[in-house]
């Protein structure tokens, strides 16, 4: 039913509006038709799209607040940049015309901003081609070595003294404001220039601001007169010093990622070294290990130079039988000391190839793994390790519970995408336990894999570095595996890593001892310090409560001054991190990940820091299939207490606002803003604890491959494989092809130039999407299927293409929205008596949220996770 003056009243009453409201709105519609000419094509096109543009009004009963919602959403649509829509239909063009008419000024501003950004994009190229640079480099080359050294040292001294001045000079309000505006202006301009040098520039700016902030905190914000103030102030200052330290070390570590390319192997395969591929396993299922072994059988490496072994600590007969059937080696040992490291050490003793490749039992290698990695061993005789990324084709608990699988980079991508690459620059890339190749002589020189700590992989790499061996990192995903199944398993894994790293920090400290270069020490130290973030994060989450509850001045400075120092520090850090890490982790998501782990790693790491041998804190992993959506109360409990504490603090804030001295209002407001930010971050952590239902056991991998389908009648059709898993595949067929469930078909898949046919059975058809399952495949066919799907050389390369573009502000808003969502989910999972009490609060919150403007979505989701749910 379209909206016309005659049908307006019925339109509103049909949607359930009350009589006075319907009368009022009908009057409004008549006025609109009279003055705005709603019957014109532009308005009609807009009205045709109203369900997409005004999602909060569609399907809702018309009520008195609707005109205000309409107004807010219209203003938002005018101001906001639209996401790219797929087709420009007449509706969109009309809408565009309306927008253009109403936004002349905004258009002009945007035009000039675009010109400026273009000019900034071209600055590095113009500089490289400019006469100044050529002249300057010619002059420098013309100088003698001594003169050049003098020049550089004078330059360094000047720069250092300027930096010292910037950092330590105390400023008043106006001077500080001008200083930060100037630096922010430079940063905003520089961040549009592409290249590495502008990144270094941003790092320098951020370092100056952060050092200045810390200097100010140490010199002017501790209240020596009052003990409570001093104690809390010093605790907070220690936490801030820790995060400053990690920030600076992080900048050093990742300032220049090496981006190593694979090295060429000699042309004659006779000269390629022998490789032992070890797959240690303990209690995992055979189906998981089978795919790995079958993919390993398909590695592109001369057969006589590759030996595959299953190292079974569980000593199971089924595995022995499978190893015989597949033609791979099977190694057992009499005991089970030292878990995986002991297993590997035993295997070292009974094998004899030059190189050792190690894969966890669920990490499936692609066919090009050895050809990509081994070249470097032949190029550099002192190379002991080549590590490749751990790529996951299933969502980890964060992605699954927050619904962001493949739309945003996941938690591990920062480490495997950027940090290890940065480590590689300083020859500090370390072993991660799987998907790597090591040199046997290097391992023998350190006496085998390290067994003293829980993270034996990093410790082994540290020992090899001390002996003078070097390491390499290739950031091309060459294997993929399953991510942790549930939040508790994930946290358990992280606790183990944290404890192990801190144990290494205590027993084999990289900062001391021989054999490491300065930058190697920095990189290792940063990797270990990163895991000590639990306690500082908890301090940050509770710091403002010290003032609100106990009236302790933790930062003894006027509120305005605090803002002038803290905000630039945070803004510059976000800008620089967004520039360096934006592709691998969206800004502010690090806060969420850290918060979720903070409580759980705080105690083990503190215990390990003081007594490395003690400590047995292990969260038992639940694992397994998530039968129904549930809320992990055990995991979320500490955060609920923290959230409750913060809510109490907020209550105190309101009380102080009304009854405290006027001079303190600024501080109360700043503290309450901090508390609200903390509450939202805790809310995001709570959102992750609400586990989503997991529908199937075998994880589906999404990928587009050309395939063919041959029906029983002999007709053949081209189709596209859109997802595959251990159990079956999903195809997209052409329009008009009808398939019935139960039909026998043959699937044609390519691997390089070879084509394979697999007997399959249709399970279901939904529109153009067809599900197939394989029944009677023999061993060779199973191998071929793995080779056509999991083990393709390009299987994991295009993973980040579907990631949304990173924008810091948008990312911040996403994280804050997630906080709200977290509390809503918590409400849904509460016991009924509590839910009844809190229902009015929820209704109030939802009513307020309905006024919030929304961005219309143009593109529907292709996520199989969404399709399953």
């Amino acid at each position: 039913m379209t909206l016309t003056p005659l049908s307006a009243y019925t339109w509103f009453t049909a949607r359930g509006a009350r009589l006075p409201v319907a009368w009022l709105f009908t009057l409004g519609v008549w006025l609109a038709f009279l003055f705005l000419r709603l019957e014109s094509p532009a308005w009609q096109a807009l009205l045709a799209e109203r369900q997409r543009l005004y999602p909060q009004l569609s399907g809702k009963r018309p009520s008195l607040g609707d005109p205000l919602r309409l107004l807010i959403q219209s203003l938002w649509l005018l101001v906001r940049r639209q996401p790219v829509a797929r087709t420009t239909g007449p509706g969109r063009r009309a809408w565009g015309a309306v927008r253009l008419r109403l936004r002349g000024v905004g258009q002009v501003g945007r035009h000039y901003r675009g010109l400026l950004i273009d000019a900034l994009h071209r600055v590095p190229a113009r500089y490289r081609a400019s006469a100044f640079r050529h002249e300057a480099s010619a002059r420098l080359r013309g100088l003698s070595v001594l003169a050049r050294r003098v020049f550089y040292s004078v330059l360094t001294v000047c720069a250092a003294s300027l930096a010292l001045l910037c950092v330590t000079e105390p400023f008043g309000y106006l001077a500080q404001l001008m200083f930060i505006c100037l630096l922010l202006g430079i940063a905003m301009l520089v961040r549009h220039m592409p290249g590495r040098f502008p990144t270094l520039m941003l790092i320098v700016l951020s370092t100056i601001i952060s050092c200045r902030y810390l200097w100010w905190r140490y010199t002017s914000t501790l209240n020596w007169n009052d003990t409570t103030d001093l104690v809390f102030g010093v605790i907070l200052l220690a936490a801030e010093t820790y995060s400053w330290f990690v920030l600076i070390l992080g900048y050093i570590q990742t300032s220049w990622p090496l981006q190593r390319k694979p090295a060429n192997l000699p042309a004659n395969p006779q000269h390629w070294p022998t490789v032992d591929l070890l797959i240690p396993t303990y209690n995992e299922d055979l189906s998981v290990v089978r795919t790995t072994v079958l993919a390993a059988l398909g590695l592109d490496w001369p057969r006589e130079c590759l030996r595959i072994y299953i190292l079974d600590d569980g000593r199971r007969d089924a595995f022995r039988a499978f190893a015989d059937e597949a033609g791979v080696g099977y190694i057992v040992r009499p005991d089970s000391k030292h878990a995986k490291a002991g297993n590997l050490n035993h295997a070292l003793g009974v094998t004899d190839s030059e190189l050792i490749a190690i894969f966890d039992c669920d990490h499936v290698p692609v066919r090009s793994f050895l050809q990509m990695t081994v070249g470097w061993f032949l190029k550099d005789p002192k190379l002991a390790l080549v590590q490749t990324p751990h790529h996951f084709f299933s969502p980890d608990p964060f992605e699954r519970n927050l619904g962001s699988f493949r739309r945003r980079p996941n938690e591990g991508e920062l480490f495997y995408g950027l940090i290890q690459d940065g480590n590689d620059m300083w020859n500090a890339a370390f072993f991660c336990g799987s998907c790597a190749v090591l040199r046997r002589t290097a391992l023998e020189s350190i006496g085998g894999f390290a067994v003293e700590t829980v993270t034996e992989d990093a410790h082994t790499a540290l020992r090899m570095h001390r002996q003078g061996w070097s390491s390499a990192y290739l950031s091309i995903p060459q294997a993929a595996g399953l991510a942790t199944e549930s939040l508790s398993a994930h946290i358990g894994q992280r606790i183990r890593w944290a404890r192990g790293m801190v144990q290494i920090f205590r027993t084999d400290n990289p900062l001391f001892g021989r054999g490491l270069s300065l930058f190697q020490r920095v990189c290792y130290a940063n990797a270990m310090l990163h895991f000590l973030a639990g306690l500082p994060r908890l301090i940050f989450l509770t710091a403002p409560l010290a003032f609100l509850l106990l009236h302790a001045y933790i930062i003894y400075a006027p509120a305005l001054m605090i803002l002038l120092y803290v905000l630039p520090h945070m803004i510059h850090a976000s800008l620089t991190n967004s520039r360096m890490q934006g592709k691998y982790r969206q800004t502010f998501w690090g806060e969420v990940y850290e918060t979720v782990l903070a409580w759980y790693i705080a105690r083990p790491t503190t215990v390990a820091l003081f007594a490395p041998k003690k400590g047995k804190f292990n969260v038992t992993a639940k694992g397994g299939l998530m039968e129904q959506a549930q809320f992990d109360w055990r995991i979320a409990q500490p955060y609920l207490w923290l959230a409750a504490l913060n809510v109490v603090g907020l209550g105190f804030a309101v009380w102080r606002l009304f009854t405290g001295p006027t001079a303190e209002i600024g501080t109360v407001i700043v503290s309450s803003l901090w508390v609200i930010y903390n509450l939202l971050i805790i809310g995001a952590a709570v959102a992750v604890a609400a586990e989503v239902r997991q529908v199937r056991r075998a994880h589906r991998v999404q990928m587009r491959l050309p395939a063919g389908l041959v029906l029983a009648s002999g007709h053949a059709y081209p189709c596209t494989l859109v997802d595959y898993s251990d159990g079956g595949v999903g195809l997209q067929v052409q329009q008009g092809l009808e398939l019935k469930p139960g039909e026998q078909v043959r699937l044609l898949l390519n691997r390089g130039q070879r084509e394979f046919a697999f007997q399959a059975c249709v399970t279901r058809t939904v529109g153009q999407h067809v599900g197939l399952v394989f029944h009677a495949l023999d061993q060779q066919q199973r191998i071929d299927l793995v080779h056509c799907t999991f083990a393709r050389a390009d299987a994991w390369l295009g993973w980040s293409e579907q990631h949304e573009v990173e924008r810091p502000l948008r990312s911040l808003i996403d994280v804050l929205k997630l906080g709200g969502v977290g509390y809503l989910r918590l409400f849904e999972h509460m016991p009924p008596w509590l839910r009844a009490r809190l229902r009015p609060l929820r209704t109030l919150a939802l009513w307020l949220a309905s006024y919030w403007p929304r961005t219309p979505r143009a593109i529907p989701s292709m996520n199989p996770v969404d399709r399953d749910a």
Partner: protein, 235 residues
């Protein structure tokens, strides 16, 4: 104008059907195509829905002293067909005069972009003394007789090897194809056309494959062949 002929290592490999499908695909890509049937069995026209009792053809026109262009049929805009014709009596073993056809090719040049010849098998067998075309495609099937006969031919003479009726489920076929890629991969590009019922049914419906089953796998393979031929197009 570019001329093309399909040479078979032996008879019965489906060359007429392939030629018809190729002509249709090329016309679909905007080329002007003329198909000439040099086989006395006169079957090419049946792929394009020519009535069964059509007796007109270039051989008949020649016998009766008329120009050969009298017998050209227009199937679609840009797709023309010159059948052999129904010759009475036992004069079926007519060997086409290569020189005469070269002269005719020159006069056809300005009206067509592609001239496709359907060669009879004894002629297709001999690489020399036959009709010389710009593009020579060798057709084979992935089975042992083809493999043995392929070994007796000078493969350098040809521009492409087309493997027809390919079924990847058959181990012999996939192994043979691997062997051929190994032996000829460097010297001769290989194009595969899958076994598809649609190819057989197309002749039963007297339509070219691209018209009868445009969505089939074989049609896509033929289109791929057409694109490869386009890269060998003459000036």
């Amino acid at each position: 104008m570019t001329s093309l002929a399909l040479h078979g290592v032996r008879g019965g490999l489906g060359r007429s059907a392939l030629l018809a499908a190729l002509g249709y695909a090329l016309q679909g890509m905007g080329e002007r195509v003329l198909l000439i049937d040099l086989c006395p069995s006169n079957l090419l026209g049946l792929h394009f829905n020519l009535p069964l009792d059509t007796s007109e053809g270039w051989a008949l026109a020649e016998r009766e002293g008329r120009p050969a262009s009298d017998a050209v049929y227009e199937v679609l805009d840009g797709l023309c067909l010159l059948p052999f014709g129904n010759l009475p009596g036992s004069s079926r073993h007519l060997v086409p005069d290569a020189l005469a056809w070269r002269a005719r090719q020159a006069e056809l040049a300005e009206q067509f972009d592609w001239v496709l010849f359907d060669l009879p098998q004894p002629l297709a067998d001999s690489a020399v003394n036959g009709i010389e075309t710009d593009v020579r495609v060798l057709v084979a099937e992935a089975e042992m007789a083809s493999h043995l006969l392929l070994g007796r031919r000078p493969v350098e003479h040809y521009d492409m090897l087309l493997v027809n009726r390919y079924d990847p489920a058959s181990r012999l076929q996939s192994d043979l194809l691997m062997v051929w890629r190994d032996l000829f991969g460097e010297r001769l590009p290989i194009q595969v056309v899958h076994r598809d019922e649609a190819f057989l049914e197309a002749l039963a419906c007297k339509a070219p494959l691209g018209h009868y089953a445009p969505q089939s796998l074989a049609c896509r393979d033929v289109q791929s062949l057409a694109v490869r031929c386009l890269t060998r197009r003459g000036p």
